[in-house]
Symmetry: C2
Subunit: 240 residues, 2 copies
DNA sequence: CGTCTGTTTGAAGGATGTCAATTAGCGTGG
DNA sequence: CCACGCTAATTGACATCCTTCAAACAGACG
């Protein structure tokens, strides 16, 4: 009972399929997978895909745009725990508790594919490659989180910013975009929150990076001028 | 071709089975699961269960004792990314890259059950409950990591220490031990590394906590005197 | 009993946060 | 289309928490 517009959501024709969950699936398997995914209306900037505490039902693959995950706890400030770019999977951290542990907010106009988890789980029984891809996805997220722990506990503000920019650059490259020129979909405040820095610090360091000819930043438009130097900085190679 | 001593490793007779991976399995299913796990010789304090970069083959369930995960990156300092207590699963972050992303070191005499991952994956095909438990486990680890991110980016040193102690207390309670009296198996340096603090800071804050009658600490022996206050502190309820 | 490692304590300095004010950007509505 | 107003971003001055350096102390183990 497919409606025509759902065609657009088919993995076969999706340019992201080589990065996304069905990565390792054959044509036929991909069809079974396709059958369970659902399209959502595009989210506008600032709109919530889901709210912290909502019952866990699905995971979501980002199709276009970008999202942030915000976790509020107690009376304390919110914590921005993740940014999601196209092909990345949202919601895997909700499986355990049956509720999503943070709200997912669109940073710009964003479309996602919804994948009901119970059906995904069922399907993963028959498709070892899909199951494996799921495990891999979660495993990668664990590793990324551990890298983030290191960033927050050992790196200086400069190193954090450099890491952040290099990380974005890498992710854009993998998606076929320029690793040197891109647009930040998030505000400075988001970056600060994510990196554990005050907004003002983010601003100041971006300014310093510009002075040192590492980057050229106009508002949210970023041009990386010296990626090697940024990478070195991100790893803490202090040479001054 | 079981040898007698392997009997000890059977989940059926393991006191941790209600917390561990086979949690939701029936008797018969647990037998299939039992069949794939392997015993390892106990690790001595300081010994490595595995080293960063080792090819990923198995996950491990802690049976007794405790472990830490250490990730070295570049020339920078090591980062302690996790402590593992009995019933917890080690190595899930290695699935993706086929290598373990950090070394796992015993903090005291420690025994583990080895679970070859390919066989676990196979078995999870037939046992939905086992599969689910695996997903849940990874999902929980993701959530824990996100909580840790918040700790490192928003909390003061006092809040971090309080969180750490409360967290340990909770985990001991769940395992049937006293949540008020326990022994730290890790050094102050480990705690500092994990929490993103200098050793000296850890020491000073423990001292301050003692002055305020929150805890009584003698070396590695901890007595929690005011758990409520610690919990409040951990959440950032400043009332000074 | 001595050595090594782990822990505690003190003093000083620095990196980053906070507060405050200004400027820029952007959507909205007249 | 421009003006308005709000939010976002920048910049400066100051405060502070934590680190770093240094040294004494304690505990474990040969």
């Amino acid at each position: 009972m497919r409606r025509p517009r759902l065609q657009e959501a088919r993995c076969q024709t999706c340019s992201l399929s080589s990065l996304c969950l069905p990565l390792a699936l054959g044509t036929q398997e991909m069809d079974s997978f396709d059958a369970i995914i659902q399209r959502r209306a595009p989210l506008k900037k600032g709109e919530a895909l889901l709210r912290q505490g909502d019952p866990f039902t699905s995971v979501f693959a980002v199709r276009s745009g970008s999202l942030k995950q915000i976790t509020s706890e107690g009376d304390g400030e919110d914590q921005l725990t993740n940014f999601y770019l196209p092909s990345e999977l949202v919601g895997l951290d909700g499986i355990d508790e049956k509720h999503y542990p943070g709200s997912i907010i669109a940073l710009e106009t964003t479309t996602v594919c919804e994948i009901p988890f119970d059906r995904l789980d069922q399907l993963s029984e028959a498709l070892p490659e899909l199951r494996n891809q799921l495990y891999r996805n979660m495993s990668k997220e664990l590793r990324d989180d551990r890298r983030m722990l290191r960033l927050l506990s050992r790196k200086t503000a400069d190193e954090r910013l450099a890491s952040f920019l290099v990380n974005l650059s890498t992710r854009f490259r993998r998606r076929g975009y320029s690793p040197y020129s891109f647009r930040l979909s998030m505000a400075r405040a988001d970056i600060g929150n994510y990196l554990g820095l005050a907004v003002e610090t983010v601003s100041r360091i971006i300014g310093r990076f510009q002075q040192h000819k590492l980057v050229d930043v106009q508002g949210r438009e970023v041009h990386i001028l010296d990626l090697d130097a940024l990478e070195a900085l991100a790893e803490g190679d202090h040479e001054h």
